[in-house]
């Protein structure tokens, strides 16, 4: 069956995140109060045909390793949603 996969890739903790820094600055300049740490990452949404949720998850993790995330600078996590509740 077809699953919807959502992959979230974010700069690894402790590593400089210039984009997050810039967004933080911009939001503060716009006068938004209470803004703490900001980090900007990537969101990948994908329809994936797989035999089971486990299989879909394994494949997505392999994709992150091989292509979607940089092992040196980024962390990622994978969510598998049954297609019904797909957001998009």
């Amino acid at each position: 069956m077809e699953y919807q996969i959502e992959i979230r890739v974010v700069p690894r903790r402790g590593i400089l995140d210039p984009q997050g820094k810039a967004v933080h600055g911009a939001l503060t300049n716009l006068g938004f109060p209470g803004v703490g740490e900001v980090h900007v990452g990537r969101l990948i949404r994908m329809d994936l045909e797989a035999g089971s949720a486990e299989e879909a998850n394994e494949r997505a993790v392999a994709m992150c390793r091989q292509l979607l995330a940089n092992p040196v600078t980024e962390d990622y996590d994978v969510q598998v949603l049954a297609h019904a509740e797909s957001a998009r």
Partner: protein
């Protein structure tokens, strides 16, 4: 005529625009600072290329919110001519002063080369020094120059003759192969409804000296000089 070039943090073609306006037009040219609240009485505003605020988040998004942009918007609403080149074009779209948006090149790569441009219309105040159908050689240098907009918006742009430049090949044919970034309908430069706000990805200010390979950008500056807009 007095020309103003806005410097945002991260602008890097402000100097080139400044020099081009000064050397081509012999016009008085001043830098405008992103935090300023007045335009120093200029007759033309340039939003130069570069990476304002590092182009973090989306190219031009943060710069479009800076104080000077309120003045630029008011100036444009009063009929004053505004030219946004490259990052300047992105800023104008982000500010909602031009329709559509500029996204990542289809190649996903930064593209730096000389592009051929077809002058689609010869109209005041930007392109009267060119012939319609004239082919220009102008450098491009951008990673997010793919122009997108909803189809009805694109239709309107064309119907109202607001597409001034399109990417073409050396014979002037508008082909996919000649499209350096995947822009919808090969659009390289457009104006707003009133016709006094121009956004374009290619860099006319880099094409004003034969020594550097092309003078085809000169026409844009000469057109501006020929049509001092009376600010209402």
């Amino acid at each position: 005529m007095k020309v103003g070039v806005v410097t945002f943090p991260g602008s890097n073609c402000d100097y080139d625009c400044y020099k081009a306006a000064q050397e081509v037009l012999g016009a008085e040219t001043v830098y405008l600072w992103h935090r300023d609240h007045d335009l120093d009485g200029v007759d033309v505003v340039f939003l130069p290329g570069g990476f304002s605020y590092g182009d973090y988040l989306r190219a031009g998004s943060i710069a479009s919110l800076s104080p000077i942009m309120r003045e630029v918007r008011a100036f444009a609403e009063g009929g004053g001519p505004v030219v946004g080149v490259c990052n300047g074009f992105q800023i104008l779209c982000e500010a909602g002063m031009l329709p559509g948006a500029l996204i990542r090149n289809q190649s996903l790569k930064f593209s730096s080369k000389v592009a051929h441009l077809l002058v689609e219309r010869s109209v005041a105040p930007f392109t009267t020094a060119y012939r319609e159908g004239q082919i220009l050689r102008v450098p491009i240098a951008h990673g997010e120059g793919c122009y997108v907009a909803p189809d009805d918006e694109l239709d309107r742009l064309e119907a109202e003759g607001r597409v001034l430049f399109r990417y073409c090949n050396s014979e002037g044919r508008v082909t996919d192969a000649a499209n350096p970034n995947g822009s919808a309908r090969n659009i390289a430069g457009i104006v707003n409804r009133a016709g006094n706000v121009l956004g374009m990805m290619p860099h006319p200010e880099r094409a004003v000296d034969a020594l550097l390979g092309s003078r085809d950008g000169v026409g844009l500056f000469e057109s501006l000089a020929a049509h001092p807009m009376e600010i209402s």
